[in-house]
């Protein structure tokens, strides 16, 4: 008997009702992702990669079909339960970093801990995490706009990891970085995968996709290769 997948999409469709007519972003997609897999999702613009990531990140729910994460049907969860699942199970790494501009690097990393434990971090975990991704104490006092792209992405990774999520969703994590920094970030992701994280990566770059153990190709909202 095979192991229950960490993520399961069963015949998932997502239809957006636009003024110009209905647009199907995901078309009867079925997919299993096991715990500790390293999956790359590739495809041209408009192929449904972002919609897929939004679903995997529980930011959206399917129009039809079912999405299970850790055995739970996401559509049947309340909004608050989905929020808590995002906070506790999933770490997000975005192409544009999406750090909170009003907070320092340290506070950005501390923030998910505050969300989870409803108090400021006094354990030093946030500082440790920043050190682990290569941000020193001096840098951690800076606001995001005072950091380079690579430094911002390291902070974003530290933020994504602070609550020890089981799934890491990476949306073009190297897209805004130079090639060298990009590979440094990928080394961090590979290391995290080695430590048991399930990494799901969206990329246009075949070189980056090569790091993954499985590549899922999307086209017009359908899986055309896996």
């Amino acid at each position: 008997m095979s192991q229950e997948p960490l993520i399961r999409l069963t015949d998932v469709s997502k239809v957006y009702h636009l003024e110009s007519g209905d647009f199907t972003a995901l078309d009867h997609v079925s997919l299993d992702i096991q715990e500790n897999e390293f999956v790359a999702i590739m495809g041209p613009s408009g192929s449904g990669k972002s919609t897929m990531m939004n679903h995997l990140g529980i930011l959206d729910v399917p129009t039809a079909g079912a999405l299970y994460i850790d055995g739970k049907d996401v559509a049947k969860l309340t909004a608050l339960e989905r929020t808590h699942m995002r906070r506790d199970m999933i770490g997000y790494i975005f192409q544009k970093f999406y750090l909170i501009p009003l907070l320092t690097a340290y506070e950005n990393v501390e923030y998910p801990l505050i969300l989870k434990y409803k108090k400021r971090d006094t354990t030093g975990k946030a500082a440790e995490m920043l050190t682990a991704v290569g941000i020193d104490e001096h840098m951690s006092a800076h606001r995001p706009n005072q950091l380079s792209g690579g430094q911002q992405q390291r902070v974003a990774i530290a933020r994504a990891l602070i609550n020890e999520p089981r799934i890491l969703l990476c949306d073009e994590p190297t897209g805004n970085l130079d090639r060298k920094t990009g590979f440094q970030i990928m080394d961090i992701l590979i290391n995290l995968h080695k430590h048991g994280k399930t990494v799901i990566l969206v990329t246009h770059d075949p070189k980056i996709a090569e790091y993954a153990h499985r590549i899922i190709e999307l086209e017009d909202g359908r899986i055309v290769g896996s």
Binding site: T83, Y92, Y98, Y111, R120
Partner: protein, 396 residues
């Protein structure tokens, strides 16, 4: 350590300092308007209340029937309290002092200046029971009279001055001599407005105006103010036993009525002041909406990484509260200064300004200012918390 959401709100306010400051100034103006108007109204009420409270132990009795009398073959109508009614009042008033009062209005001449005022006819023995002499002495009878403080001041009267009583075109007008000048009474709640009156002995009054044994008003000065309603009902039972002969009232009912009226006026002027708070509320609402619109992507980030809707709402409400608190605190301080100046300018004294019932309007105004800000921030906060994180993240 500070709540992270409060911290975010503080930083947002700092980031948009000028905009936040301008919005808070609206609240400052609103708080000052409400507090100052409230304090002014209360000071007016307290002032009037204190003046009226001086005679709160007096029951006023006036005739409630009109009698037709014939004097010098001419029928006239008048209302008065006759001797038998006065006897009834005296017998039912117990140990309390009963003061029958004659009253009319007249023209008079002082030197070459004509004037008009009230003339009260009182038993000289009754005068010191409720009036005090500032200069000179009490009248002992005859044509010695007392004059009110306002008349004395307006006509430059001194002890010994002469006053011709009656219209200036009348021949052989009686002349009275000022024996004393009364202390100013202000608003008299016992119906004797002595400041603008001439107080003459009752015999002089009846000699010149008739009406012997018929009084325009009878005052009963009650020794123990707690028994005032018992005294009133005793008089009512005795005098009005068959028909309504006299109307009985006391200063406390007038006091209640006047303070209620002033209270209504205070509420009204505070409501006018409140309009500025409505304007401020619109300004706060606008600032909050701008803050939400400018931070759409940030809201998207917060929601996507697991911030609860309630926490996002809290963050924006904190921002509104901060604006409100800044406005309320500055407004409170300004209210103290401006309120003091307004009360001083309008009433001429600040005796009552530091009373708790006056100063309470400062915290009232401050609380209203903060509440207005919270209400103004509710919709923007709700809007922020209900954003779709995907759409919010996409916005630039």
């Amino acid at each position: 350590m500070m709540d992270i959401f409060f911290d975010l709100s503080v930083r947002s306010v700092r980031l948009n300092f000028l905009r936040s400051l301008l919005a808070s100034i609206g609240i400052v103006i609103g708080v000052v308007a409400i507090s100052s108007m409230g304090m002014l109204g209360t000071n007016m009420q307290l002032s009037v209340k204190d003046q009226l409270s001086a005679n709160v132990n007096t029951v006023m009795i006036s005739s409630d029937v009109v009698k037709i009398r014939t004097t010098a073959n001419v029928s006239t109508t008048s209302s008065g309290i006759d001797k038998s009614t006065l006897n009834d009042i005296e017998s039912s008033a117990g140990q309390n002092q009963v003061i029958p009062i004659h009253r009319t209005s007249t023209q008079f001449t002082i030197g070459s200046t004509d004037g008009r005022g009230s003339i009260y006819g009182l038993d000289p023995n009754d005068i010191p029971k409720f009036l005090t002499v500032d200069q000179g002495s009490l009248t002992k009878g005859g044509s010695d009279v007392l004059v009110g403080a306002t008349i004395a001041s307006n006509f430059n009267l001194n002890v010994g001055s002469r006053i011709k009583i009656g219209p200036s075109n009348t021949a052989n007008r009686p002349v009275v001599r000022v024996a004393g000048i009364l202390t100013a009474r202000g608003i008299a709640s016992d119906g004797v407005n002595a400041d603008t009156a001439i107080i003459v002995p009752d015999l002089w009054y009846t000699d010149h105006y008739g009406d012997k044994d018929v009084y325009d008003q009878v005052n009963v000065i009650v020794q123990n103010v707690d028994t005032i309603s018992d005294v009133e009902s005793a008089i009512d039972k005795k005098v009005n036993r068959n028909t309504q002969i006299v109307r009985i009232s006391d200063a406390s009912s007038r006091l209640t009525s006047i303070t209620a009226t002033l209270g209504t006026i205070t509420t009204f002027i505070m409501a006018i002041g409140g309009i500025s708070l409505v304007v401020a509320a619109v300004s706060i609402f606008n600032v909050m909406m701008m803050s939400v619109k400018e931070r759409v992507q940030e809201i998207g980030i917060l929601l996507s990484i697991g911030t609860e809707k309630g926490e996002v709402r809290r963050m924006f409400l904190y921002e509104a509260i901060i604006l409100g608190l800044i406005g309320a605190i500055v407004g409170g301080i300004c209210s103290f200064v401006i309120g003091y100046s307004v009360v001083n300018a309008m009433l001429g004294n600040t005796t009552y300004f530091f009373r708790p019932e006056s100063l309470i309007y400062i915290p009232y105004g401050m609380v209203i200012g903060v509440v207005v800000c919270i209400i103004s921030g509710m919709y923007p906060a709700w809007m922020a918390s209900n954003m779709d994180p995907i759409d919010a993240l996409r916005s630039e």
